[in-house]
Symmetry: C2
Subunit: 420 residues, 2 copies
């Protein structure tokens, strides 16, 4: 054995110095053998380490996660179907019931970003030709309409200028007029920083016989999402937003009405991997549907545990305080809010106009290069037109907010951020 | 400030001892206020730590990842759109070109398990009514047919008994007879442990004008997948299989022919989040499509780096050796292969019949409880009917294989594993 091994090593050495590809001992029994078309040159880029360095992410993009949510990624792994996996599912389910304030047993997470959750919910609730009413106040509303159209829904949209939200009356008239099977609204339009109140809409939908879908991605963990009280039929978020975890799991909670609708479908949903009944079966230990990323499950579980330990009301209070502190600090620097109406502003994600004479990209470059802080200059329709700051999860912290305001003050005082 | 804070604390204390929910200072400006329906009882389960303990996973389920792939999860995070994110995409693309042996620029990863990749590929290549021919030798073939049917394809299947594979002639006659727009085959049917040779099929498909899709999940990283030479139009895998990473990313490589087909679609694919043209744009730094789980990107990048450093042929040689060692060890224990034909057996995933008089579940329980080793007793049609062992990635190691064989010897010698 040792002699053979050394002989192979010698052959490899000879092959390398003679410029040929390495010797190999494929015997044809195991799959394809290398051949003339074989390329054994490994990409040189991969021989360098990843040059990742720490920076403070205070844009609306995935922010720093809570340390514990991040450290949980390192816990020993599980195999599919181990009993502990089922325990983790139950922990997460109860955590989601807590943060969505619901008694529904249909609480679980799909794999992917929050967009996967939106797609999963619409794909499961909609059958081709169903009339779907989507309220659009910015990028995420447009996204829901796009997703619903790809599912061959009959999509009707109502629209507000970016930075505004709908009144109850506007939604109510549209629902009564169009009689949709599904109403889809964005509770927190994170691109603009707008909060859409949902009070009364669930009752309206029940009276009109339509299902009520709320994209609560930018609200969960930052403000109360009272799913049962608001009579929401499907609400979703992403693990990386207010829950302060890692992107990759997308919590979904369904009402019994929503599940009824899914069970009565004439055909299964188009997406196999996001078939919510099968996902729910796996989470209830009655099915073995798909391989979940166990580190991400651990991490989401820890995010929910942190919220349980802090207490939900304390968490929300911390977010409200940090957001007020940010507003006061930025207003003192002379920044004007992008969302005119104070009551319409989100907790945790705030947008401001670019000060006159200043360049958005130069400000964000300055913030990153001088202060190691990543901020956003807008997304979608308002890309490059605003400054957007996140004060949620680990960033909902007085010292971090103060640091952000001081850094921005420096950036705005610098001539390097002027329009040239 | 301090006085206010202590006053709130006092009120909270009074509220708690008097049995009421905690005082809160919501001012109505920020979203919904708690109300009568508010439940502030955090789930008690979440106050316990996760009881994860280390075990050796040697089933075909996600195995232990390589240490470096796992440790990369902890690197500092990035925000969406940072230049380093684009660098990581390029690193992964070049790594995938290396392991799939292709020059195609259409190499990237979707988010989710390998099933997401299968769904993404079929959804992008198929339009409703398209004729799709699926070869089924076990669970993964059935899955592809199910996914294609949900996409309203006209699905035609050819089928082999589990444990067998198709001859070239069988595939060739079916393609000529049915003239499908897409032929979908499973290169490694991991449930049974069967390897499907693909030689000549790409040429056949080009002659017959159909696209050739290969689910190479259980082959990539264990054996050569010569995508260009085999003229595969779409091949995919999961980050957790032969690449030895963490579940959650699903590499996909497309040929120019496949991309041409996608670009000529009359309507966009049904799944928004798995729109491959938009994913490719993000990976080529010409779009900003979705939030990726950055720790998973780091991890996949490190899996590919490990393979580049070891050298692909050495990696395959290590897998072939470990698999031979497993076969010899298990045969010496008297185990009979589930796959009769030696040439049809996969590298890295091997199935054996349950020895007579022995109970599959008792064997796997014994292995886990006495030896801390998780093995599989089959999945899908052959669930509970086989013993399945993984010798891939970190498990393609002589000491680990020896340890597995010794533990199984002990399990088979024990009366505790007898059928009662």
């Amino acid at each position: 054995m040792s002699v053979t091994k050394e002989f192979v090593c010698l052959l490899n050495f000879l092959a390398i110095i003679s410029g040929h590809r390495r010797f190999h001992s494929y015997n044809g029994r195991f799959g394809s053998s290398p051949s003339d078309t074989w390329n054994n040159d490994a990409p040189s880029r991969l021989f360098q380490p990843i040059p990742a360095t720490y920076r403070l992410i205070q844009s609306g993009a995935p922010p720093q996660p809570y340390n514990r949510s991040r450290e949980a990624l390192q816990l020993p792994l599980l195999a599919d179907g181990e009993p502990l996996a089922n325990e983790i599912y139950i922990d997460i389910k109860e955590g989601l019931q807590y943060v969505f304030q619901t008694k529904s047993a249909w609480a679980f997470a799909a794999q992917g970003s929050a967009t996967t959750a939106i797609q999963a919910v619409l794909d499961n609730l909609i059958e081709p030709g169903d009339r779907v009413l989507v309220g659009i106040c910015g990028h995420w509303g447009d996204l829901m309409a796009d997703i619903a159209r790809r599912l061959d829904a009959n999509v009707i949209t109502i629209r507000k200028r970016t930075g505004r939200r709908f009144s109850f009356q506007e939604i109510s008239s549209a629902v009564k007029r169009y009689k949709p099977k599904v109403l889809a609204l964005v509770q927190g339009e994170s691109t603009a920083g707008v909060f859409q109140p949902l009070d009364g809409i669930g009752d309206l939908c029940q009276r009109e016989g339509c299902l009520f879908v709320s994209d609560s991605t930018s609200v969960v963990g930052m403000q109360a999402v009272m799913m049962d009280k608001l009579k929401i039929d499907a609400a979703m978020t992403g693990s990386q937003k207010g829950l302060g975890g890692i992107v990759g799991l997308a919590p979904i909670v369904l009402s019994d009405r929503a599940v009824e609708r899914i069970k009565n479908r004439t055909k299964p949903p188009r997406g196999y991997q996001t078939d919510l009944i099968q996902i729910a079966q796996q989470w209830n230990a009655t099915g073995d549907f798909q391989s979940y990323s166990v580190p991400l499950l651990y991490s989401l579980r820890e995010s929910l545990a942190l919220m349980a330990e802090e207490g939900m009301e304390n968490t929300f209070e911390r977010h409200a305080k940090a957001t007020r502190q940010l507003h006061q600090g930025m207003e003192a620097l002379g920044l004007r809010h992008f969302v005119d109406e104070p009551n319409d502003r989100l907790v945790g994600i705030t947008t401001f106009h670019i000060p006159s004479g200043k360049d958005a990209t130069k400000i964000s470059d300055y913030m990153l290069n001088r202060h190691n802080i990543f901020i956003s200059t807008g997304y979608g329709e308002i890309a490059g037109k605003v400054l957007r700051f996140a004060t949620y999860a680990i960033n909902a912290d007085p010292t971090r907010v103060e640091n952000l305001v001081m850094a921005l003050k420096d950036a705005l005082n610098s001539s390097e951020t002027n329009i040239s």
